[in-house]
Each structure stands twice: as C-alpha cells, then as structure tokens.
Amino acid sequence: DQQVKQNSPSLSVQEGRISILNCDYTNSMFDYFLWYKKYPAEGPTFLISISSIKDKNEDGRFTVFLNKSAKHLSLHIVPSQPGDSAVYFCAASVEGSNYKLTFGKGTLLTVNP
C-alpha cells in the first residue's frame, strides 16, 4: 500500500519554462513533507520542505505547495534549467517519527535546452 504516490514517472520541459512535479499522499497523519533530488550514481539531496501548518514554502526557484484537504503537494521550479534534470522524490513523515520518511517512487525531470 503506497502512502506517497508520484503518478508521473517522467516529465519533460523546455529550459526557462515552469516544471510542476506532483505528489499525493494517503496517510492523514503525515505532517511534514520534503522533496529530494537525485542525480545518477549519487545519493538523494534535500531540496525543500514544508510543514503542514503552511501551504507554501519558497526557496529561490523552488516552491512547494501543500493542499492538506486534497492530500496533495507540488513542487514548482521556475525557471527550469538543464541542471535541474534529475529524479525528484517526494517524502513525508509523521510528527514524533520524523526520522522515518516515506518516499514516493520518484519523477524523472528532463529539462531540454
């Protein structure tokens, strides 16, 4: 039973345009959400996070939106750059157990020059 779902295995966008990566979750106990980015042959690196008390968190070109009622979050990258091409993982945790992240399967983003 997948508690964190990334339904798009891949996404392709043009350089300079917006990339929108989506993530849905089923466990209503999740209250902290993260995005990790992974290049081939490297470990995932933390990108951005959001607590359930917020609905938006922005860091430079990256913005994460959280819709708790829909159990949905999205990562917006604007403008997209070729160096953003990577696999993006959505992850979630429960307060009190925030050492244990539940990950989605990832979305491969390709930004074309």
Binding site: A41, G43, G104, G106
Partner: protein
C-alpha cells in the same frame, strides 16, 4: 571527504551468501539511517540509529537483516543468506539530530545472483 561514505559501492554475490555494507556518517552526526531502493521503487526505511542504539528497526524486512553502529559513528548493515529479492541500492544517511534534513551517501548497489 565531508560527506556520508558507503562501501562497497557495488557488490555482486551469490544467493545464500552473507554480505556486509558499511556506512561512515558525517562527523558529529548523531542520527544514522539505512534505506533501500529496489528497482522502480521509492526509498524504503530500514532502520534508524540515535547514537549506538536503534530505537526503530521496524523496517528491516526479515531476521536475515541486522545492523549495528559502534562508537556513535560507523554502521554496518549485514544481510545473511542473501536472496535475489535483496537486490537493491542500500542507502545510508545521517543527520545532526533526529529528523530534519538527511544527508545521503551514494549507496551500495547489491546484486544477488
């Protein structure tokens, strides 16, 4: 280097053999985590260490899997009597304290023939 170091980077073994995977976390990080990523799947939590103790080992798939951490630093994940379904990338991560941003190593790719 200053990052999380894992060895071996690649391991091919025969079914039924034991394997040991090593993780050297970032110096000073008290929390250490093991995850694994099977082909086409998201990262799956295995075990978490705070210092040398493992408050949560609920993610270990079977009693063939064990892990220890010594001196609050290096950790070893041992898989006994390996099976083909154990084939995956085993990722270690560390953090300064429980939860928050995890810093991942590059992973150990295990292939069981």
């Amino acid at each position: 280097g200053a990052g999380v170091s894992q060895s071996p980077s690649n391991k091919v073994t025969e079914k039924g053999k034991d394997v040991e995977l090593r993780c050297d976390p970032i110096s000073g990080h008290t929390a250490l985590y093991w995850y694994r990523q099977s082909l086409g799947q998201g990262l799956e939590f295995l075990i978490y260490f705070q210092g040398n103790s493992a408050p949560d080992k609920s993610g270990l798939p079977s009693d063939r899997f064990s892990a220890e951490r010594t001196g609050g630093s290096v950790s070893t994940l041992t898989i006994q009597r390996t099976q083909q379904e154990d084939s995956a990338v085993y990722l270690c991560a560390s953090s300064p304290a429980m939860g928050g941003e995890l810093f991942f190593g590059e992973g150990s790719r295990l292939t069981v023939l």
